[in-house]
């Protein structure tokens, strides 16, 4: 069974085509990375899969059914920079938001949800921070809180948008081991990833994307120099330049 099936997906922002004719299948239980240069549409692919951006054409199936029917099976970690961390709320409260989907309208989280949220915080090594205001956390800690919120969703397939971008080594290892645990339990991880060096160590499935899907499949047969060259436009030097640019951007974002 495939956790994610995408057929002929096209997405455009105003006049610019962000994704074109994307066909993709990711089997259940895989740790999959979506890899590609800046502007390749990696985040857009996640958002389109989750119904967060309007699509021009195509279909997305989660475990064989449209997303609207399968919402309860999906967990989502948006980019850390997509929210205002000065928002007046605590770490535990953010993790509790992961239980909102199951709670439904109006019902408030109770004792069971609190216990669950605390357990999820513990999994990412953040149990001691439950009552902290989220603005007091480091970038890596914020990222772990976002992961804990997704864990609280208790999903079958997880979509993560650059969870390891700009985080410290401890956080990166924590995130990796949590993701590996999830995959071992038969859950599917689909992760936008920016680091070509670590990708082959972390993932067992890769999707190489540059507006179109260049290649998609098991790591060994897909993550090849030839495919990477096609993805990053001609030469690896361009790819390396891309990454340097990306890292500079990250540095600036951190400041």
């Amino acid at each position: 069974m495939n956790a994610l099936d995408i057929h002929d997906l096209t997405v455009s922002y105003r006049d610019k085509v962000a994704l074109q004719d994307v066909d993709l299948a990711i089997p259940a239980g895989k740790l999959a990375a979506i890899i590609g240069p800046n502007g390749a549409g990696k985040s857009t692919l996640l958002k389109a899969a989750l119904g967060l951006v309007p699509t021009v054409a195509g279909s997305v199936l989660i475990y064989g059914q449209p997303y609207a029917k399968q919402r309860h099976l999906v967990g989502y970690v948006p980019q850390r920079s997509s929210v205002d961390w000065d928002f007046p709320t605590t770490v535990l409260d953010v993790v509790l938001m992961g239980t909102y989907g199951r709670l439904g309208w109006i019902r408030r989280p109770g004792r069971a949800e609190r216990d669950r949220a605390l357990a999820c915080l513990d999994q990412v090594g953040m149990a001691d921070y439950a009552d902290r205001q989220i603005g007091q956390l480091s970038g890596g800690q914020q990222q772990r809180v976002f992961l804990a919120r997704a864990l609280a969703q208790d999903a079958s397939v997880y979509f993560l948008d650059e969870p390891m971008a700009g985080v410290d080594a401890v956080t990166e290892q924590t995130i990796l081991s949590v993701l590996q645990d999830l995959a071992r339990q038969g859950r599917t991880i689909i992760c936008v990833h920016h680091d070509l060096d670590s990708a082959p160590q972390y993932f067992d499935w890769v999707v190489l994307l540059n507006v179109r899907v260049i290649a998609s499949g098991p790591l060994a047969t897909t993550f090849t120099a030839d495919n990477l060259r096609k993805t990053y436009g001609g030469s690896m030097r361009a790819a390396i330049a891309h990454f340097q640019h990306f890292e500079e951007e990250l540095e600036q974002a951190k400041r």
Partner: protein, 290 residues
């Protein structure tokens, strides 16, 4: 009049109740407006209410607050719609769109208001109280309307508190779990319109935005929890509303709106300076100490 007399007085009771309620509701909804960075939207909606009030009076010849405020709400709504269209269709920046809509609606409002007040119709003359607010003009019927609207707005906020919080903090995640973020956003903006409409009589269209922004900004200084922030903002808003109303009653020729806003400014400045952890003084002391 002494303060004791003021409090037992019929007018004063209406004024105090009306202004206090206004403070509570604008404090509560202002928190969401500020956290969603929509403080200026409140300013536009408030200014846009003026032509609605004038047209409502022109069409019905009634000065019942329900009729006038309904006109204000409709005009505010149209302004919000115009804003959305301009931003989406004309590809203008939001700041430019806000500026255009605010001044256009306000210009129409002032034109109508001048026409109505100068045509020698004694009835129409009272409408200019909506510019800067006149708490003394509140009668029991107004207070009743305000109380009902406030109950609706605060009830809706309490009911959808969890959804509003998630929408405000992380709209992408909210949509991913299936919340209709567009509809919730419209609902929240509509509640802000209700708050503004209530404020028109006591604070007036020109200064109403401050009544939304001020209590929330002050409250944010004292706490890191949204729930506490909302309660504090409600208290600050009520305090400013009461102070403004009673000060303007106790002496002649003191406009309610400006005095309310000045009272609020005092609260905001004190909060920005002296709140623990976030206050400027606290931070400076902490820096020199550490």
């Amino acid at each position: 009049m002494s303060m004791a007399e003021l409090l037992s007085d019929y007018t004063a009771r209406n004024v105090a109740l009306g202004s206090g309620l206004l403070g509570v509701i604008s404090g509560v909804l202002g928190c969401f407006a500020v956290l969603r960075r929509q403080g200026l939207l409140g300013d536009v909606l408030a200014h846009a209410a003026l032509p609605g009030i004038c047209l409502a009076y022109l069409l019905t010849n009634s000065k019942s607050s329900l009729v006038l405020l309904l006109g204000a709400a409709i005009a505010g709504w149209l302004a919000a719609l115009a804003l959305l269209q301009i931003v989406q269709q004309a590809r203008l920046g939001e700041d430019s769109a806000l500026g255009i809509v605010l001044s256009t609606f306000f210009a129409v409002g002032i034109t109508l208001l001048t026409f109505l007040t100068k045509r020698g119709d004694a009835q129409g003359a009272g409408l200019d109280r909506f510019l800067f607010g006149q708490a003394a003009a509140l009668i029991e019927e107004d207070v009743f309307v305000i109380a009902v609207l406030a109950a609706i707005a605060i009830g809706a906020t309490a009911l959808f508190y969890k959804e509003f919080k998630l929408l405000t903090f992380d709209a992408l995640f909210a949509r991913s779990i299936g919340l209709p973020t567009q509809a919730l956003s419209v609902l929240l903006t509509s509640l802000v319109v209700v708050a503004i409409v209530i404020g028109l009589q006591t604070v007036g269209v020109v200064l109403m935005a401050a009544m939304l922004i001020g209590p929330a900004v002050a409250a944010r200084q004292w706490t890191n929890r949204l729930g506490i922030m909302i309660v504090l903002a409600a208290l600050f808003g009520a305090a400013a509303g009461l102070a403004g109303a009673l000060l303007s009653l106790s002496a002649e020729n003191i406009p309610t709106g400006p005095v309310t806003i000045l009272s609020l400014t005092l609260i905001v400045v004190l909060s920005l300076l002296f709140a623990p952890a976030r206050g400027l003084v606290w931070r400076r002391l902490n820096r020199s100490g550490g």
